[in-house]
Symmetry: C2
Subunit: 205 residues, 2 copies
């Protein structure tokens, strides 16, 4: 399988992998289907078999991005150093939320171009896969909110309504950092400030 077969067999994955690299490194605008095909060593029309057009490839990248984000959030949430397991006190909950928030903002700043692609909206008509991947990525966040309600750190009520302000604060901070509106070197500090404020806003009253 080391010989370059006529039937590549692995073209789709190789295209995605290579495309993500150039998007992360050079931005979406720098992604050319023709150059991509050249890099992979295939004719410029070959990708069409796997991605009908450029937007289809971009949607696939967005979907993959959400999967990465989900994995990163889950890993951060699982990385619980407190002895008792899941957070059951307010302080422990705040620490857990801080870890997930940090992971979210880190993903955003490390993959700014990919994040822009993921939140570009206007995906192709048949893009339920992207929306599904997005929902899955956000689930850890809303699951965390439910746990917060269980331990009394977060006000009761509809989980979405309580979770949206937390979600918005996090995503807004990430977006302002990647846009350069807020200085990237203040990232750690700003995550703490925003988390503290958002958690006060979400606390029972």
């Amino acid at each position: 399988m080391s010989t370059r077969a006529y039937h590549h067999g692995n073209l789709r994955e190789e295209l995605l992998e290579r495309a993500e690299r150039t998007v992360v490194e050079q931005g979406v605008d720098a992604l050319s289907l023709r150059e991509l095909a050249r890099e992979v060593g295939v004719s410029h029309a070959a990708p069409r078999r796997h991605f009908p057009d450029r937007d289809a490839l971009l949607d696939a990248l967005a979907e993959q991005g959400f999967a990465r984000l989900e994995a990163q959030l889950r890993a951060a949430d699982a990385d619980d150093t407190t002895p008792g397991g899941a957070a059951t006190t307010g302080d422990a909950f705040a620490a857990r939320f801080g870890r997930v928030a940090t992971a979210y903002v880190e993903f955003a700043t490390d993959h700014a171009e990919l994040l822009a692609l993921m939140f570009r909206g206007k995906h192709r008509p048949g893009a339920e896969a992207v929306a599904a991947a997005a929902d899955a990525a956000f689930r850890p966040l809303f699951g965390l909110v439910a746990d917060g309600q269980a331990c009394g750190a977060v006000a009761p009520g509809d989980g979405e309504d309580v979770g949206v302000p937390l979600f918005a604060a996090l995503h807004g901070l990430a977006s302002l950092l990647t846009a350069g509106v807020l200085p990237a070197q203040r990232r750690r500090e700003l995550v703490e400030v925003v988390c503290a404020s958002a958690l006060r806003g979400a606390a029972p009253r």
Copy 2:
């Protein structure tokens, strides 16, 4: 001056105006310099005199967008229906903040593509003009925070640190709405929920 003079005289403004329309209506990707020149009735090389390349035009559009946003925020802030003028009580402050927040989110959803362009980051090297326009646009928001501190609705301290969480919550909500992650028809309701939460988080403790 109704005759199409050889020296157009007004080309820069006409290009900007037309470009903004197609960006708002069709998105950044649909903006072609050649088609733009065609629409304005000028050779395809003519725009180069006013915008060295495509990114220069995009930066000019972003700058113009921030100016529009600033005007809209100022108008919303000035539209004070309470008798006594500037807000001096907590309730009045919350109402005032709500108006500005609504204006911000409305601008975002009405000009989603333009907003993406404005917060695209990676502007050209000599893009201090864009950054300056952005700062000016955000000033009403931070001025509002200072007033909130003066009337005791917002915790004291460095204005930026107190303002950033409010800013992040607003921008995050706007971004999630335009991306389609949150449903656009719940806009009014979500603005209220997010504002209430963010203001609780910013309140003195």
